[in-house]
């Protein structure tokens, strides 16, 4: 239950460019200062060391951009949602943008899937290569996963849907949907690793970028909000 004098707000935001290389911890420090600059009446935690309470959805790996991040916080006064977006954007660094603000009706643990755009820049880019890469994801996709209990091989085929794989100029562009479930989270780097097994030199003379494009409920279809 949310106490009456607090107004929960969810903000969807994007982080691109230099922000890709800022860790989750540093992002939250950046957000905290931005909130103070925006002079939004954010609710502080009680206790010995009061601090603005902010909760983020799925943390991103360093190096990954995103068009679809979520952050929840509470305000102690009602502020029009459009004003929240405008005031945050006036206080955010250029490569961090608030997209919309609203009252949340879901929980972050409702998130089941996220889509990513992976762009592989390679001199070998061609429609044929794109098709061959797509075919790599038919059948088993064995990746090695490292967790607290150790490193083990895992078939991520049920957790990974290639939505499209095309050649765009000098790049292979893959749209992929990966599981974000807490217990079966698939990192986009596993997709790259799987491709590297068959094409170990694909990144030579090139590079790849990853951008999270959207987030969905477990049914894979309904956009998370």
């Amino acid at each position: 239950m949310v106490p009456e004098d607090r107004y929960p707000v969810r903000v969807r935001f994007s982080k691109v460019g230099s922000l890709k290389f800022i860790s989750h911890l540093d992002l939250s420090r950046t957000m905290r200062a931005a909130f103070l600059r925006a002079k939004l009446p954010i609710w502080y935690t009680m206790g010995f060391n009061p601090h603005p309470k902010m909760v983020f959805s799925l943390p991103l790996s360093v190096g990954t951009a995103s068009l679809c991040e979520f952050m929840d916080f509470m305000l102690t006064e009602r502020v029009p949602y459009g004003d929240i977006v405008a005031r945050l954007n006036a206080s955010f660094p250029a490569e961090l943008r608030a997209i919309e603000a609203y009252e949340p009706s879901t929980r972050f643990c409702d998130i089941g899937w996220a889509t990513y755009e992976i762009r592989i820049e390679t001199p070998a880019a061609s429609p044929e290569l794109a098709e061959k890469i797509r075919a790599l994801f038919d059948g088993e996709i064995i990746v090695s996963k490292t967790t607290k209990i150790g490193t083990f091989d895992l078939d991520i085929a049920p957790l990974c849907d290639i939505l499209s794989c095309e050649c765009d100029g000098g790049e292979i562009v893959i749209d992929v949907r990966l599981s974000c479930d807490e217990k079966s989270f698939v990192n986009p780097k596993h997709v790259i690793e799987h491709i590297l097994k068959s094409y170990p030199t694909i990144l030579d003379g090139g590079d790849y970028t990853v951008c999270r494009t959207n987030v969905f409920l477990p049914d894979k279809e309904t956009e998370f909000r």
Binding site: S18, S23, A34
Partner: protein, 616 residues
């Protein structure tokens, strides 16, 4: 230019290199006349914390024809990537290589960063030697405390800006603009620069040496070049520009908060302390101005912590009024107030309650020496009773741990003084048990002992540093003597301190050694993991430099010192008087009690302790 992402993915803390922070200034490069790259010759985290750079970055970017950007020393992993991919060192705002800039400035804060400056120049593909640069390369300027004796860096910089930079950078940019739009040669530019107060152009002086290796003379090459360069100061601190916005780092930096400079200078005159002399005369800011600046900075930056900064903060004449005024709004805004270090005689219960970082953090005091005799020699005017009283306040406030700073190898130090260090720490432990309402836990005293390094422009500038082996012996001596488990003894690397002493009191012949060290790939000397004492000794051997000549030799009082070409306001006569007083164990009162005629008052200054000199 953008840094390739593939490289950013391979390095630690990529946030150091990407720029894009809130508060950075981006201009259209085609619309400015002067591009200035402000370099800090160490990592981003340290450089971003530097107050001087924050001030000067703001001043230069407020000039419509100047764009000042920032650059830092890359960490070794990034350096390796840069070298293997041929990426030249860039400035973070534009990503453009430093070689495309008009002026590249370095802030020299400590001697152990000298090799970093050379490494940064070479990473930027700029020739390190001034003599090998022409009109096509950027003008290389240096400022910061190390430039009070800039001689070891004389081969590498074109101009040293001596003293406070607020006005100097404006004049420099203006002069540069004129140079750029005229047919002035670089040589003429440097000549013109030497006419400005505080601009030291080392190439305009011939230095000759005596047979014994000491300096014979600094001779200006032309009659219009001043024989002595006087440092610049800002006379009225209330009128000095202070940034109202800061660049907000994404990653955590060393000083990640608003820093409010309360005053410049120091009234104390500890005889080992360079800052205490070179920043004279004392000039305070008014409470009104400070409070207003603090509010603005908190509003604009989003920081929730503010630290009051000055050499001895409790000596600010209005410290109570300032903290009271600030607490009126900081508490409500949940902004915490912190103070850097406190003198024991100002450490009170009231202050402890006011300052949140004192409430929550550790307590540190700096007696510097173990006995009253030695404290009198160095003019550290505190006594054991005052220290114990301050510790008791801390213990009553619930503290159990105290950190004590000492220096070892001070002039006239004997084993008795070393015993005094342990004895003083013991007394602090005893004071804990004598405090009735102490916390029921075991007390802990940490002794942190630095090695004394003689610094230019101090009363101890003539002293030879305690020999390396003797420093090691004294450290072992204290280690063995300390049998109390409640006392922890830490000490600094004597090797680092010795190399620091060489460069602190060096002359321009040391340029050879720095160049050789640079050629051998030495850098990051301020980092334990990259500093090698043996490597430095080998460098000195290979270029035929006797490091003891600079570090350990006691300079003669009538000898020409390499830094005599600089005038800091404080006179050599005063420093000599102070040296003689030291050997007599005679203390000198603080400026607030009595003027000791150091000479700095001739520079002028508002809200100062100094007797005024009638200006003509």
């Amino acid at each position: 230019m953008k840094l390739p992402e593939s490289i950013l993915k391979k390095v630690e803390k990529p946030g150091r290199y990407v720029g894009g922070e809130w508060g950075q200034i981006v201009k259209d490069k085609s619309s400015v006349d002067v591009r200035f790259a402000f370099c800090f010759p160490d990592t981003y985290e340290i450089g971003m914390s530097n107050l001087g750079i924050r001030i000067l970055y703001d001043i230069m970017n407020k000039m419509d024809y100047v764009w000042c950007e920032r650059a830092y020393a890359p960490w070794v992993d990034m350096e390796e990537q840069m070298r293997s991919h041929g990426i030249p060192l860039w400035a973070v705002e534009s990503g453009d290589p430093l070689s495309e800039f008009d002026i590249v400035g370095f802030s020299l804060q400590y001697e152990m960063c000298y090799t970093n400056m050379l490494n940064m120049l070479s990473l930027a593909k700029i020739p390190v030697l001034a003599s090998e640069r022409d009109e096509k390369q950027p003008l290389i300027v240096c400022g910061g405390p190390c430039t009070y004796n800039s001689e070891p860096m004389a081969d590498f910089a074109d101009i040293f800006l001596i003293g406070e930079g607020e006005d100097e950078v404006v004049e420099l940019c203006s002069l540069y603009r004129e140079y750029k739009h005229s047919d002035m040669t670089k040589e003429e530019l440097l000549r013109r620069a030497s006419h400005f107060e505080g601009f030291y152009v080392p190439s305009l002086y011939d230095v000759s040496y005596n047979a014994d290796g000491t300096v014979k003379e600094y001779k200006p090459k032309y009659p219009d070049v001043p024989a002595k360069v006087r440092k610049r100061i800002v006379k009225d601190m209330d009128k000095a520009p202070y940034p109202e916005n800061l660049v907000m780092p994404y990653i955590e930096t060393v000083q990640d908060r608003v820093v409010l400079e309360v005053y410049r200078g120091c009234i104390r005159g500890c005889r080992f302390c360079q800052a205490g002399m070179v920043y004279r005369p004392v000039r305070e800011k008014s409470v009104e101005k400070l409070n207003e600046t603090a509010k603005t900075l908190i509003e604009n930056t989003g920081y929730d912590e503010i630290t009051l900064s000055s050499l001895s903060i409790s000596d600010y004449t209005c410290i109570d009024k300032l903290t009271d005024e600030m607490l009126k709004w900081t508490d409500e805004k949940k902004v915490s107030l912190s103070l850097p270090s406190l003198r024991v005689n100002s450490f009170t219960k009231e202050l402890m309650e006011k300052i949140s970082t004192i409430r929550t953090g550790g307590i540190t005091f700096a007696p510097e020496a173990g006995t009253q005799r030695l404290r009198d020699v160095i003019n550290k005017n505190i006594n054991q009773e005052e220290l114990l009283r301050a510790c008791r306040v801390a213990f009553e406030g619930g503290k159990t741990a105290v950190k004590l700073y000492f220096m070892q190898g001070l002039p006239t130090e004997t084993d008795e003084d070393l015993d005094g260090i342990i004895a003083l720490a013991r007394e602090v432990i005893e004071e804990f048990y004598r405090t009735p309402d102490r916390v029921k836990r075991q007390p802990q005293v940490t002794i942190s002992a630095a090695c004394f390094v003689p610094k230019p422009f101090t009363p101890f500038q003539w002293e030879g540093q305690c020999p390396y082996d003797e420093l090691i012996r004294r450290q072992k001596y204290v280690t063995v003597k300390n049998t109390d488990r409640k006392i922890k003894y830490n000490y600094h690397d004597a090797g680092v301190s010795r190399i620091e002493a060489v460069f602190a009191r060096g002359d321009r012949r040391l340029g050879k050694a720095l160049l050789e060290a640079h050629r051998r790939g030495m850098r990051l000397d301020a980092w334990e993991e990259y500093f090698s004492y043996e490597a430095w000794l080998d460098v000195f051997r290979s270029v035929g430099t006797d490091e003891s000549f600079y570090a350990n030799r006691t300079f003669k009082e009538d000898e020409v010192l390499p830094w005599d070409v600089i005038d800091i306001g404080v006179t050599k006569e005063f420093l000599l008087r102070e040296r003689h007083n030291a050997y007599k164990g005679k203390t000198t009162p603080a400026c607030s009690e009595k003027c000791s005629a150091c000479g700095a008052n001739k520079l002028g200054g508002e809200r100062s302790w100094c007797p005024k000199i009638a200006t003509p």
